[in-house]
Amino acid sequence: MCLALPVRVVELRDGDMAVVDLGGVRKEISLALVDGVSEGDYVILHVGYALTRLDPAAAERTLETFASAGLAVPAGA
């Protein structure tokens, strides 16, 4: 029910609609809840609607945090 996926917008269409790429599968979704989406952007898709844009720079930073957490030795250890 709460399943939502990051998908790439491949084509903008009329009436706030867009075509997205879902791991090779194309699907038409609504962008009515999110302003200013461009082709190539990633959005989080849920029950046919984009809920928000995905920020690639923030995603990179989070992945770096994962990598460094594994290496870090906490103070006092």
Binding site: C2, A4, P6, L33, V47, Y49, D55, L63, G70
Partner: protein, 385 residues
């Protein structure tokens, strides 16, 4: 797929598990509630529990929209669906939720009710356009993520001048459910459900932002870390919670920065505020009547309100006597504590709502966790002899 696979990396999961074990103080216990069914599912599916040290435990919360829907509301949906002029449009997950008298929407459909599964509320509006002689009712359920799409559907029906589209509104609110849990005697006084912090919702937070949780962190002195639904997100959030507990901090931190801001999606919020208003209270399975925890259509949109149009009355129906869903949703019990788990109640033949949706604690545990229990017991038994 990009932004999914890299957040499921097994090696990184191991090293994050190591970091949690090193950071957690061996002399204390850490108990965190993951509010969302999406997190419950990720934890069960990727065996996150196995990567945590024994003194860090996860408690499942009530954040599964299908699980918290009380029997009375399903009964009302069936009552609406059985009217000959009605087409009831519903998300797939609700079809098999047990209702009164051994019914479900699926069984009502087999008996002749016109129940159709839709992927989005747009599909329901399209059904209304295609069938002007019928009345199409969207069985609208879910937390803050599905509410804006319902609002959009109502606006679309209005713009198209459709007078045969209705919404049976069951949208519920996450923050009210969290405060209800924090106010419950189990958490506050009796201490049977000790909670040291929350893994906060992923997709709900894309809409409402991280700001609404600041109240709990402060008022109830509980740390909250908003996390994505992938296993590494959950593990990183647990690490952040352990650090907060160690430092004596109670803050709202955001692990899911790639999608969640403090403000959330303002466009979606204003749309919801335009169409919906708070109900004074709403019945949740497991939690009972929770004040100001759900939405209904504003008077301005009364013409689209199925409850008013059909005059269906709210009703209270008790759960199956032996089903422990209520206690599981409050974090008091675990799926394996239920006598019916895996015997009389399975995903193919669910007796309670927690066994229906893949985000339900019982379904997640049945699908991914039950063999692990056996393995653990065998290992323990082996060590003892």
């Amino acid at each position: 797929m990009k932004y999914i696979d890299e957040f499921r990396d097994g090696k990184l999961a191991q090293s994050l598990g190591g970091a949690i074990a090193r950071t957690a103080n061996a002399n204390r216990r850490y108990r965190f509630m993951e509010f969302c069914g999406g997190h419950t599912h990720a934890i069960a599916r990727y065996g996150v529990t196995d990567l945590l040290p024994p003194n860090v435990r996860m408690i499942h919360g009530p954040g599964c929209p299908v699980c918290v829907l009380p029997i009375g509301r399903i009964d009302m949906a069936i009552e609406i669906a059985r009217r000959p002029q009605v087409i009831l449009a519903t998300y797939g997950d609700t079809l098999r939720v047990p209702a009164s008298g051994r019914l479900s929407l699926l069984k009502a459909k087999a008996q002749g009710a016109d129940v159709r599964m839709v992927y989005s509320t747009q599909d329901a509006v399209r059904l209304a356009e295609q069938h002007p002689e019928r009345e199409v009712v969207m069985f609208a359920i879910g937390f803050e993520t599905t509410t804006p799409p319902t609002a959009l559907a109502i606006k679309e029906a209005e713009a198209k001048g459709l007078d045969n589209f209705f919404v049976f509104c069951n949208h519920v609110l996450t923050p009210s459910a969290i405060s209800h849990i924090l106010e419950s005697p189990e958490v506050r006084d009796i201490g049977t459900v000790p909670i040291d912090g929350f893994v906060g919702p992923a997709h709900v937070s894309t809409i409402i932002g991280s700001r609404p949780y600041e109240f709990f962190a402060e008022e109830y002195q509980k740390p909250v870390v908003i996390a994505g639904f992938e296993p590494l997100d959950v593990m990183q959030a647990i690490l952040m919670l352990v650090r907060q507990v160690n430092d004596g901090r109670c803050e709202v931190e955001n692990e899911f920065t790639r999608a969640v801001s403090r403000e959330g999606n303002l466009k979606a919020q204003s749309l919801v505020a335009e169409v919906f208003e708070l109900r004074r209270e709403f019945e949740w399975r497991g939690l009972g009547a929770v004040p100001y925890s759900a939405l209904r259509l504003k008077d301005k949109y009364a013409a689209y309100d199925a409850e008013r149009h059909y005059g269906v009355a709210d009703r209270q129906v008790a759960d199956h006597k032996a089903c422990e869903c209520g206690a599981i949703l409050r974090g008091v019990k675990q799926p394996a504590d239920c006598k019916l788990f895996g015997t009389a109640c399975t995903p193919e033949n669910p007796l309670g709502s927690c066994m229906v949706s893949s985000e339900g604690a019982c379904a997640a545990h049945y699908t991914y966790g039950r063999f692990r229990d056996i393995a653990r017991k065998t290992a323990a038994g082996g060590a003892a002899t």
